[in-house]
Symmetry: C3
Subunit: 185 residues, 3 copies
């Protein structure tokens, strides 16, 4: 059979931190970062304490879920919206001035179809400078969202999105160039 | 660059209530309206106390999230399903006999592409009498869902949906007329 | 009018258990099964206590929501991912070696378009052996997902998915055959 989950093992997967650190993070996530309480500053401080590299001027809203803070990089002046879920078994690298809207889901884990043991495959996600993930969007493992690209509300990126393009659909395809801002710089 | 989030300001955005009222509402939402506890009546009473206009015979299920109750209008005999998320920075006006199914998300906030300061743009949503948003659907800012229209499970409305049509997809397009009810009236 | 929610009644719907059992289950769900606490074993024990038939080697992750445990069947070595939502007003039957990924939503309830009283219609869902529902997928009432079929991330199945096919989109269509595992058996 194609899929024999009893043969699955993720013993080769390196979680990056000892179990007690992960347990502590799970607790901090439940009580603070992923909670409904307001406040971006404390969220950032806690994520950094667990190894996240987060730039200046970043905003992190309530309900944000991060799997492994030690595999999260966020550039200056980026926003992570309410209830965004960063499921980063592999590194998620978010550039500067990126907007991750509410309810977005970033998936870095998949499974190997070529083996019936359904081996875990992880692949990083990169959100390049100035891109915008709309509300309730989904991004598949290994995807790079190009600089200033836009993924519209409810869409799903399963392959790289070209820079500066507006992309829509499940799976998302580029539909038109993003209009340039008419303001200076 | 197209998107300079450090230049963003939403100082021009009028939240409609003083900060202490909003804080109180956040608390009421966490403890009651958006909680998992059963009971429609108390939810409606609390929403009304914060300025929502809600008709008679309305049902509001557990886990429902409302951003600003003072920008919510719900007509008679309408239903708001479990975990629906009404993110109403602008007014959401729901007509009579409307069914908003579980997990639906109504988005009223976007950003101005023409300015690199990424200014907040809000636009109201109207759900006309007798329409039906299926489970896990999404509705974009400014959209009107026509009377008796249906948005099918998992679909995303980014433009107006014509009355009486079944609409599917991300983005949703009308696919066929909704069959008329064969019962009287 | 097409939809008169004031005429709705679900008095004909049989919930399968007395109200006090359902209330007890709601409590157990909030406090344990659907909570963020880790631990698959206790979740399975509780679900079984409320009538679920669950095979051996099954894994159930945090945040999983089940409407009626007494209408849930899960085969050996299957996985139910984080925050999956099994909204089983009708029976959901999950075969062996099935992977239901995080955030998947299984919907068994709809409404009768031919009557303006919007009568509740329920229809079972079957996930056949070795199939895989990707993250944030949706499955509509009455759908059978064929053996070893795959529904890709963010997609919505509104009709049966053929065995062994990879299916994508909202609504999902088969796009190509799933590659056979090259490992033995």
């Amino acid at each position: 059979m194609t899929q024999r989950l009893d043969r699955f093992t993720n013993s080769a997967f390196y979680r990056g931190r000892p179990a007690w650190v992960e347990a502590l993070w799970t607790l901090a996530s439940i009580l603070a970062v992923a909670s409904r309480l307001p406040g971006s500053g404390p969220r950032i401080a806690i994520l950094r304490a667990f190894g996240a590299r987060i730039g200046k001027g970043v905003v992190i809203k309530p309900g944000v879920r991060v799997k492994f803070p030690w595999r999260l990089v966020v550039g200056d002046h980026s926003w992570i919206g309410e209830d965004a879920w960063i499921d980063n078994l592999a590194t998620v690298e978010i550039g500067a001035h990126v907007c991750v809207s509410q309810g977005a889901y970033l998936c870095t884990g998949s499974h190997d179809w070529s083996r019936n043991s359904f081996d875990l495959i992880t692949a990083p996600i990169a959100l390049e400078q100035g891109c915008w993930l709309g509300a309730m969007t989904r991004v598949a493992p290994g995807v790079t969202v190009g600089s200033c690209a836009v993924l519209t509300i409810g869409s799903t990126a399963v392959s790289d999105l070209p820079p500066g393009m507006i992309c829509s659909g499940t799976p998302a395809v580029p539909t038109r160039p993003r209009p340039k801002a008419t303001t200076a710089d």
